[in-house]
Chain length 242, copies 2
């Protein structure tokens, strides 16, 4: 079904009011017809199944679903070269990441991001949300210094590191509890030993993804995919919290 | 450490003979110096730690490692639009896929691949192997019809499908045994119901990656990352076979 993302204020009673760009998208681009069903998603909250009305300005709500997302993953990702951060935002959103923090680390080559690029990442996040049946449009935070990570809040915190224990063993043996997760992924050359040590002192657990070394733009996405598959399975104890 | 991929025939006694392109790469591009250590990988077999010799034509072998890869994953991936198959080859190689079969399915829009593109994918696979500490350069097979999949060999066969059980639950409950895995991933619009049924009749298990829908270029890679993390952990029973 075609899906659009709407603001809570667009939901009024049994109707969803469409903005002009949404009208353009639905009627010109997607060529929907009156009577057709589409989905309107309020990020982080509800998914509305709606009928297209002939006036082209409103949808009539038929059905409402609460969307169950067992954990919220923040990916603190070191800035990386080329436009690979955009790729991480796209694929990481599909894998269930709900917040991205671009981080400047010791070995980061890229150390700054233009406001235009930041804005583009936010649009990519929104598009990926719409495509992947999710309910929260991830937030892209401003560029942050590595030093801020140890004190950031989170129920469960992990850092990707090739020498850590296997992430699946850790999940199934420790059964970490809590809905707010922090996941840290390094830049091309990895985090420095002292950075990893700083995180470990701050209750971060170092975990690895298996025997292979992933490129910087792939590691955080794969890790998020594993966390999401685990959290949404009966193997996790996260569901107990909800 | 700098790594090159070599043919078995290049290993002669305690020496690794370099081809002219490898000499160019090591001495001109990477600017290695005599005495420096580099790695030479024989795909699927051994990793040699070698010392660079002043003659610029040979390396002296210092150390040999057998590389342990618990499972061999073949990804039968439906052809997809743009050059996204190349991205799957790159990221999937990192995630432990050892063979790629480009497949034409009912809903495939792309149905053919030029020899030049096929060759480029093979080069991408080789580069990703070198970067990710792996031992086997994945093989890119010729374009194959979906109809060939049901009879393809494999100890464990699965197909990605949003309505299947969670892949982690399946792995940990069924503990599938065997070293040769087949993994099927559909095109942009997914596999058709009859295609999924054909695979299920042929002992394929349908599995999902959690509650979200991944784009076609992301699903197979995430699934391979999960399989590799699982197979290389103490949770799997695959290690019993080796």
């Amino acid at each position: 079904m075609i899906r659009i993302v709407v603001e809570p204020s667009q939901i009024q009673g049994h109707e969803c009011m469409l903005t002009p760009p949404q009208q353009h998208y639905l009627f010109r681009v997607m060529r929907v017809r009156p009577g057709q069903l589409v989905e309107a998603l309020v990020s982080g909250a509800r998914l509305y199944e709606c009928k297209v009305e002939p006036d082209s300005q409103t949808l009539t709500i038929q059905n409402v679903d609460e969307v169950h997302v067992p954990i919220a993953i923040t990916l603190a990702q070191a800035l990386i070269k080329r436009d690979l951060f955009a790729q991480i935002v796209e694929k990481g959103t599909e894998a269930g990441i709900s917040r991205f923090i671009p981080v400047v680390t010791e070995r980061s080559i890229v150390r700054d991001v233009s406001p235009a690029k930041q804005q583009r990442w936010q649009i990519i996040a929104q598009e990926a949300t719409e495509q992947s049946r999710q309910t929260r449009v991830p937030q892209i935070e401003p560029v942050t210094s590595f030093k801020a990570l140890p004190t950031m809040p989170g129920h469960v915190k992990c850092v990707l590191h090739p020498e850590g224990p296997n992430i699946l063993e850790w999940l199934l043996e420790e059964r970490p509890h809590g809905s707010e997760w922090m996941l840290v992924a390094g830049p091309e050359g990895g985090l420095s030993d002292s950075e990893v040590a700083m995180l470990q002192e701050a209750q971060y657990v170092a975990v690895s993804l298996g025997p292979f070394i992933y490129r910087a733009e792939n590691a955080g996405v794969i890790a998020a995919g594993i966390l999401t598959a685990w959290a949404s399975s009966r193997l996790s104890s996260v569901g107990d919290l909800f």
